[in-house]
Structure formats: structure tokens, C-alpha cells
């Protein structure tokens, strides 16, 4: 066998069974069932909104981010096997972390959705698997604001392209990618080539990293 064997993580394994997830949030039942208002149909620039939270502690920007991302984080966690109440609480925690760690958001290396995903993923490991999650040291962001803005814009374009490429993958591969991120892949499935087109976005991020390293030295 040449592939790395990785422990299959079924949703139950990640979440320690539904029983645990249920008790996790038993004290905080859902109140009401009305949906929050949907954001404007002309989609805001999520990255700019995170920057407004980062630089100005802007609550209106935060509310827009919340209305867009919190229901998706909740959906993501439920796909990963959490029950509704646990997913709701965890989604709120993720949004609190977004506010608290906004200073570490670097738009030249991650879009808002990417960054929020990493917070949600780490929270999932922390809460549901009760494991420590080692993460690489955060690099300080931004040599100068103009370079940041240009790099960030380019990264957003690349991220959109990657997202479109993901949509265009054959159904089987797309399914593997989604299930990998929901944490429900078997060893063999994780070993399969996904054919993800990472070329241009990778060189874009590497460029941003190199600029950052130069500015630091």
C-alpha cells in the first residue's frame, strides 16, 4: 500500500455520538423558528466586511456576515453529524471567534468564507472531538495597505475560480470533496485523487507569502 492510511471518521466518531451532541446544548433550546432576514440579493463583498470588523469593530458589517454565514455554518455542522441545538451554539461560537480574531484575518491568503471555514472546522474538532488542534503560527499580515488590497482582490478572483472549478468537477469527485470536509470519508476515498485545480490560486498565495516574508526580514 502506498497511500497513507487515515482513520475513517464517520460523523458519529467525530461527534462522539448523537447522545453527546444532544446533551451538549440541552440548556439552550432553540427559541422560535423564524428565519433571520436574508442579506441584500446583490451579494456584499464578504472580505471587505470582515476587514470592517477587523479595523473598525463595525457591528453592521458583523450583522451582514452573521446573517450570511451563521446558517451555513450551522448547516455544515449538521452535515458533519451535529444535532440542531449543538450546531446552533457552535455556529454562534464561530461568529464570536470571527470578531475576536479579526485582527488575524489576512485577505491576501484567505477569502472570508475560507477563513470562517477554518474557524468552524477547528471549533468542530475542539468541541465535538474534544481534541487539541495544532495550527501553524499565524504570520503577521500586510506589508502596506495598497499591496494588501491588490493581493486581496486577486485572491478573491482566484477563490471564485476555484469555487467554479469545484462545481465543474465530475459528480463523483465533487461528492468526495464535500464528504471529505463533512468528515465522513473512508481511508480509500481520502486516498483517491480529487483532481482539484489548485495551480493559479496556489501561485497567488505563494506570491503573497513571499511579499510578506520580504517585508518581515
Amino acid at each position: 500500500m502506498t497511500s497513507v492510511s487515515i482513520h475513517a471518521t464517520k460523523p458519529d466518531a467525530i461527534l462522539g455520538g448523537l447522545g453527546y451532541a444532544r446533551t451538549y446544548h440541552s440548556s439552550h433550546a432553540l427559541k422560535g423558528a423564524e428565519a433571520l432576514p436574508e442579506p441584500d440579493p446583490t451579494e456584499p463583498n464578504w472580505t471587505d466586511l470582515v476587514i470592517r470588523v477587523r479595523d473598525e469593530q463595525d457591528e453592521a458589517a458583523f450583522a451582514l456576515l452573521f446573517n450570511h454565514f451563521a446558517p451555513r455554518i450551522k448547516g455544515f455542522l449538521m452535515k458533519s453529524g451535529a444535532d440542531a441545538a449543538a450546531a446552533e451554539e457552535c455556529a454562534q461560537d464561530v461568529m464570536v471567534t470571527l470578531w475576536q480574531k479579526a485582527a488575524q484575518f489576512d485577505p491576501t491568503r484567505a477569502s472570508a468564507a475560507t477563513w470562517i471555514f477554518t474557524i468552524a472546522r477547528n471549533r468542530r474538532i475542539d468541541v465535538f472531538r474534544r481534541q487539541n488542534r495544532p495550527e501553524p503560527t499565524d504570520l503577521p499580515w500586510g506589508p502596506e495597505p495598497e499591496a494588501e488590497a491588490a493581493d486581496a482582490l486577486a485572491l478573491q478572483q482566484e477563490t471564485r475560480k476555484l469555487s467554479a472549478a469545484l462545481d465543474a468537477l465530475p459528480a463523483k469527485q465533487k461528492d468526495i470533496v464535500k464528504r471529505a470536509f463533512y468528515g465522513e470519508l473512508s481511508h480509500a476515498e481520502l486516498a483517491e485523487e480529487t483532481g482539484l485545480p489548485l495551480g493559479t490560486i496556489k501561485s497567488r498565495i505563494r506570491l503573497a507569502l513571499e511579499r510578506l516574508r520580504r517585508a518581515m526580514s
Binding site: 497513507v4 487515515i6 433571520l36 446558517p71 501553524p136 503560527t137 470536509f181 481520502l190
Partner: protein, 213 residues
Amino acid sequence: MKTTHHLNEQLQMGYAAGVLPEAFNLVIASHLCLSDESRATQCCYDAVGGAVLDKCEKERMSVDALSATLHQIKTCACDTSAPKICTGVFPEPLQGYIGENLESIHWHSMGKGVRQANIPTAKGACVRLLFVPAGQAVPDHGRQGTEVTLVLQGIYADMGERYSRGDIKITAPDAPSQPVAENGQDCICLSATDAPLKFHRWLHRFLHPLLKR
């Protein structure tokens, strides 16, 4: 930092998806601190995760969720710790487990100057720090699982390839392997396996109590 031997897609995907055992996560996070190439690729896998999240079906939040979240933000202490930059032999994620310097490590001798220290992590895999004096061979061991090794100091040479600080060596269970620390500097590496190492026969019997610690 320039590195030449990197992770494979399976490990990067597994790390991004958050499904690997903690032991592997520790090796990967430490590697990412030392390799810009891998860090850039890892950001791409995270971006795939971001796309999956963004396209995920929405689940309705409770009506007071936003105000409850804002209340939480205003009432809890803010974590504004500034990011640290890796210095010294141990990358920052590893420092969180074993401290900052070599002197603080509790080594177990394996003979001929070779030493190891097991690092406690969640079950599912194990990870250890290995010290091999310059010019020495790494003790012969068979593997039941895959081994992922990160070189932190010196040169780790195996089957004609050379691995230096920041490089990753992935060894499949059935792959031949005869690693040695090259002459020059003592070699230190961090190594995770998803099954306990099986040292050959007498050595295994001798080391078993130590490895079990």
C-alpha cells in the same frame, strides 16, 4: 523557508478537512511553519473547504441568535494575542507540547546515543521526537502503519534521498527504509505513525516497556 519534500494530497486534504488524528496534525502544523510552499498549498485546501461551506445548505438560526452572539462578544475577554514567529529548533505548534528548548525534553535512551521522547496526543496515532547523533543509523523498525517524519535539525538520509529542516518524509508500511543521520550535525525529527512502531524482535522486547510509557 525553502523545503523540497512536502506533504501529499491525502494528508493536506485530511488536515484541511480536520479528520486526521492529533499526532499527524502536530507534524503537519509544524511543517507548515517551516515551508512556505506547503503553507500556500494548504491555504488552497482551506479555500476548497470555504467553498464547501459557502455552498452548504442553510439551517435556520434562532431569532435572537445575532443579539446573543453580540452580547457574548461584548461580555467575554478578547483574545488579541499577537502572532509569534517561529524561532529556535522547535516550531511553535510543537512548543505548545514540549516547551521551547531541547534541555526540557525527557528523553528515553535507545542505545548508541539515539534518544526518543513520546509526545502525548489523542488516541488514533502516536508521535515522538527522535534524536539521532550525526553519523548514526535510526534504529531498525518495521511499521504497521504509515509514518510521517518532519526533520527539525540535521540531515536525515533514507534510500538515496536527503531530508533537511522542514522536509517531510512519508514512509508507507511496506516501504523499505534505512534512515541515517548524516555526518555533520545531530539529527532531530518529529515522527507520527498511525500504528505503534514494531521494533525488530530482541530490540522490541527490550524497548517495549519504554515505548509503552
